[in-house]
Point group: C3
Chain length 151, copies 3
């Protein structure tokens, strides 16, 4: 059995990639909050009475705001579990090229998902495919981890 120091190692390319792409995904998630706020002010569609009153409007929902919020919720459903799945997967002694490719493809897929869902609405199957790529990678990592740690 490998030592943990061989895996969680600041010189290890997999671990460095894990940290790097996670930071990119965090910034992507953060962009959803900024996009929601921008659209709330642009469309004067606020969820809190005190925010609406400050703009002299009533609380209301707006389709373009709700779309960003659905994309953001989809991030919350998919990205935190990926963080934990990829942590476990790193410990299964994967080939570095495969692990880094999975990190990159997951990250790219989530950027594409946000873009086609909430920035420019691209017809299906763009959104479904980009979601599915991330879902498949998370599932692959979780299953590999289960198989590796089940005995």
């Amino acid at each position: 059995m490998a030592n943990i120091e061989d895996v969680l190692n600041l010189d290890d390319p997999i671990f460095r990639g894990f940290i790097f792409y996670n930071a990119l995904l965090i910034l992507k998630c953060m962009a959803m909050s900024a996009l929601t706020a921008t659209r709330r002010f642009k469309n004067k569609a606020f969820a809190n009475p005190e925010d609406a009153a400050a703009q002299k409007v009533k609380v209301r929902t707006d389709d373009s705001v709700e779309r960003v919020r659905r994309a953001h919720l989809n991030d919350l459903e998919n990205i935190p579990i990926y963080f934990v799945a990829s942590f476990g997967y790193m410990l299964t002694n994967p080939a570095p090229a495969l692990a880094l490719t999975l990190f990159r493809v997951f990250t790219a897929a989530r950027f594409v998902h946000t873009f086609v869902y909430a920035v420019v609405v691209v017809p299906q199957p763009a959104r479904g495919l980009s979601w599915g790529v991330g879902y498949f990678i998370t599932g692959f990592m979780a299953v590999q981890t289960l198989l590796h740690f089940c005995h």
Copy 2:
């Protein structure tokens, strides 16, 4: 004070259990997305105009879809904080039998919660109890961690 290598160690049963049950919980969370999609198509209840149009229906909500979504949101409220709570708890030098029991009971409780909430609706207190077991375990771990790391 123990060295971190003694705790985050690929031979340590607590750490192996942490990784293993987290992977199971990830797959459980992922099942919620699949269940939501299945019910959306079965009931032709879509949240996005482009999805509804492809099925020649209007955007609408459906009780059985919303139920799965509430169960999924409950996962998002409870499972990511458990991942972090159990990571901290592992570092408090717990008895392996206790730590592994807590991991197993939490995992089982979340599977039961999903089943009685969203798959077969079982009368209360089934849902409340299964949620409460997970909540209590997360709280116990967080408090143990605070007490252990407060000085």
Copy 3:
């Protein structure tokens, strides 16, 4: 390059602070569930037909419940990504005093955010500022991590 044992070390003040403040934030998130349940019973406003029927009322939404739920969702949008951002940031060899200050200010900002959003409604910019402090810290940590791990 530093060894990971120098960073993820049970004697290291940054790592100890990371674990300690994360546990505090977990308890804060958990308080949202308790507050939601309390207000649901107080206002007899339930999301599930079986819960409403047990109290002999119909399913309905209530403003004070929805306010707590918005604050809770804001936690879900901000706190899990902070956990991961601060983990990466710890590995960038930050000054201990700075890192600990950021952990403390983030934690305090999230407690303030909950208080002014959902406990006592304080006029803006209290909520916006407390949210912004946490958002800025998470972004700072993610950017520092990207810069440190990009080569």
